[in-house]
């Protein structure tokens, strides 16, 4: 099948492409012409008029929790991929805290099989330790062979410095990163950030230093072993500062931030709405300011959602007892455009690097290029469309988002990948 994408603004920060009113011809999902195309010349081509819309390399979310296997009532590989496509992503990496954990080749193959026919590429993060228990390193060689692109015990930090050191040493053989959820559990265990708000709300506190201690531990061990560390969802001022300093020293460290951690602060908890409960917790204005600085100066490489679906029954509990986490695949692009691009914190080029290029580089995945002969891997953006996010139109099986009814500027209109297109709420085989 031939399709023509008419009048697009084509943008690729690595290839340095920034052109307006370009036409793209795709034949069976492969780029066959970029330039001016007269539709009459190509018989039977389906034409999409994308005037004033951007086409950029397909977005990749490197931090997603699919709940399959184990909690298919909350999310499946299929529903998670639908949410990803709806949110503007052509690829995701899923975290290993499923039941059972992704600590064997069988579970990796199972997830790969579940996602095989979907438009969205699903990459798998393997558990760093067996059962994510922090006692023995996982069969990393076997997991690597099965195709995992990173190791993590996400949900918790790798329990001890001893096991982390071995995980670094062992994973180094395959040059893939350890992705760390930084939290010293002997200091945390609360429900929100420690500060005046936790005191006033009477909620058990989580001090910011619980995150920072693990960030610095991991940086030091990465430096010592020569391993690669990727700091997941960093949330505090000091974490940003330590990552910046480590990068300056040439240590192999990368980092990501979630949209909620650059958009919201702990004042939002005053209504005890469990959709604002996540781990790490929402922090303060000073933390957000430093995160914005880190996004701008490149300390923070990626934007990732930490998409964490939870059933309504579990989330509708007392604040202290409700599970951590929110869905984020479908609000991420809108929030990044609204809060970062339109507020001139970062440029469009930086935004695309953080949402598409860098996560793939960190996980050693090929970056989509705009060249004839390449399979099309695109995200279609409207940078200026103003819309209200409606959780009821979410494709995720879970609805635990604090951003329902939020006004956003800039929207992912669709995606193209693996010879499939998702556009105007429909999947199309190309």
């Amino acid at each position: 099948m031939k399709i023509i994408l008419k009048n697009v603004s084509l943008f690729h920060p690595v290839q340095k492409i920034d052109e307006k009113e370009i036409d793209i011809l795709l034949t069976d999902g492969v780029i066959s012409k970029i330039g001016k195309i007269n539709p009459e010349e190509i018989s039977g081509a389906k034409v999409f008029d994308l005037s004033n819309k951007h086409i950029v390399p397909g977005f990749f979310d490197m931090h997603v929790h699919l709940r399959e296997p184990g909690r298919e009532d909350e999310e499946t590989v299929q529903s998670g991929c639908n949410a990803a496509a709806n949110g503007g992503f052509t690829g995701i990496a899923c975290m290993p805290n499923t039941e059972p954990a992704i600590d064997s080749a069988e579970v990796v193959s199972f997830i790969k099989k579940q996602s095989k026919d979907h438009l969205v590429d699903v990459e798998v993060i393997g558990a760093a330790t067996l059962g994510r228990k922090g006692e023995y390193i996982s069969p990393m060689a076997e997991l690597y062979e099965a195709g995992v692109v990173g190791f993590s015990d996400d949900g918790v930090a790798i329990k001890t410095s001893g096991i982390l050191k071995r995980a670094f040493e062992y994973s180094k053989m395959y040059n893939i990163p350890i992705i760390e959820h930084c939290e010293d559990e002997t200091l945390s265990g609360g429900a929100m950030n420690e500060g005046l708000n936790s005191t006033m709300l009477g909620l058990p506190p989580i001090p910011s230093v619980a995150e920072e201690l693990i960030v610095i531990r991991d940086i030091l061990l990465a430096e010592y072993t020569g391993g690669k560390i990727h700091i997941a969802h960093l949330s505090t001022k000091k974490s940003v500062e330590m990552v910046r300093e480590a990068k300056r020293k040439g240590i192999s460290v990368t980092s990501e931030v979630t949209p909620h951690h650059f958009t919201l602060i702990d004042d939002s908890l005053k209504i005890y709405d469990t959709n604002f409960k996540m781990n790490p917790p929402l922090r303060t204005k000073a933390d957000v300011d430093e995160i914005l600085l880190g996004l701008k100066d490149g300390t923070i490489d990626c934007i990732a959602s930490d998409h964490a679906p939870h059933s309504a029954e579990e989330k509708e509990a007392e604040f202290e007892h409700a599970p951590n986490g929110i869905t984020g695949l479908e609000t991420q692009v809108g929030l990044a455009l609204t809060e970062l691009y339109h507020k001139k914190i970062i440029t469009l080029g930086q935004l695309i690097e953080k949402l598409s290029i860098n996560p793939r580089k960190i996980l050693n995945l090929p970056v989509p290029n705009f060249e004839v002969g390449q399979i099309a891997n695109f995200t279609i953006l409207d940078l200026t469309e103003i819309f209200t996010f409606d959780i009821n139109r979410s494709k995720s099986k879970s609805k635990n988002s604090p951003f329902d009814k939020r006004l956003l500027t800039g929207k992912a209109l669709g995606v193209i990948n693996k010879s499939k297109m998702f556009y105007q709420d429909e999947f199309l085989n190309l």
């Binding site: 005191t199 709300l201 009477g202 579990e314 007392e318 007892h321």
Partner: protein, 306 residues
């Protein structure tokens, strides 16, 4: 003039006029409690549910008695701690109670924010009888009532809250209420028991108990939790008693006629020596009686709002 809010979730943000009204109304009911027939028909036909997710015999009995004295129909709904952790069962319980068409719900829960959550799913007037380590507004009110009864004023007094401030629901309600009424409030306790940024509420932090005694007109002494988890916050009961316990010698040494409150039950020999607990400075049993009057006032003012 009626109360400005149809729920009592905490004393944070409650205007001075409302507190004044509750305390004045409590004075009226205090007289009722001295009569041979201690019952008024004010809330006849109203149904109040005492929803206790945490055992608290004293608070529950105080509310129950207040409800009976006002001729309300009261129902006790105690839920065992073991079934609390499941969020599902909590919502189901609330829906069940809602279906019974009750007028008021008095709720005690180990999780902060639960009373606020109730206001969103129920039409009843909600009274917070203690939520986690957040607020316990009727305790704050009865403490203020007791101080006012004894010292004839609140404004301008210096009040110190002593003990495990970080894990107390009484402390915040006292701080908000007392400050609204014009008192100067400080807290005193081991630094591990003083919550982060409490000074930002306009509260002075004192670590020396003698200093706290010298500087203040009133000490509101909190109960120290003795179970294992609470014990992580101080080295030993002996050390706590030695450095923060209120004893007769300590009061004498500081030469101070000071008013002592305690929400009860007391750990004798820990936060208060037996001598102080039974001594002339304390009004602990008065607080219990006043508790009934204050709760009658709250129930009456909320129950007759509409």
């Amino acid at each position: 003039m009626p109360l400005s809010n149809r729920h009592l979730l905490g004393l944070q943000g409650v205007p001075k006029e409302d507190i004044q009204l509750i305390l004045d109304t409590a004075s009226t009911f205090r007289e009722v409690l001295e009569r041979p027939i201690k019952r008024v028909p004010t809330l006849q036909g109203k149904t109040v549910v005492n929803l206790f997710y945490e055992s608290s015999t004293r608070t529950r009995i105080s509310f129950e008695l207040a409800e009976k004295r006002l001729s309300a129909d009261s129902i006790n709904f105690a839920v065992s701690a073991s079934s609390v952790s499941k969020g599902e069962s909590f919502k189901d319980t609330i829906k069940n109670i809602e279906a019974m068409k009750v007028d008021m719900v008095v709720v005690r829960h180990s999780a902060a924010g639960t009373p606020l959550y109730l206001t969103k799913i129920s039409d009843a007037n909600i009274i917070n009888a203690g939520d986690g380590i957040h607020e316990h507004p009727t305790q704050g009110l009865l403490d203020m009532y007791s101080i006012r009864e004894k010292l004839r004023k609140i404004e301008g007094l210096k009040v110190c809250i002593v003990g495990d401030v970080a894990h107390s629901r009484v402390a915040l309600s006292n701080i908000y209420g007392l400050k609204t009424m014009g008192a100067e409030v400080s807290v005193c306790g081991p630094s591990t028991m003083i919550p982060k940024n409490i000074e930002d509420l306009g509260v002075k932090v004192i670590y020396n108990i003698d200093e706290a005694i010298q500087e203040n007109d009133v000490l509101n002494v909190l109960r120290i939790q003795l179970e294992r988890k609470a014990r992580e916050y101080f080295p030993s009961i002996r050390e706590y008693a030695k450095y923060f316990g209120i004893t007769e010698e300590r009061l004498e040494k500081n030469g101070k006629d000071i008013l002592i409150l305690h929400p009860g039950p007391i750990n004798r020999g820990v936060e208060l020596s037996s001598g102080v607990a039974d001594g002339l400075n304390q009004i602990i049993l008065k607080q219990v009686t006043n508790g009934v009057a204050v709760r009658m006032a709250v129930l009456y003012l909320l129950g007759t709002l509409n």
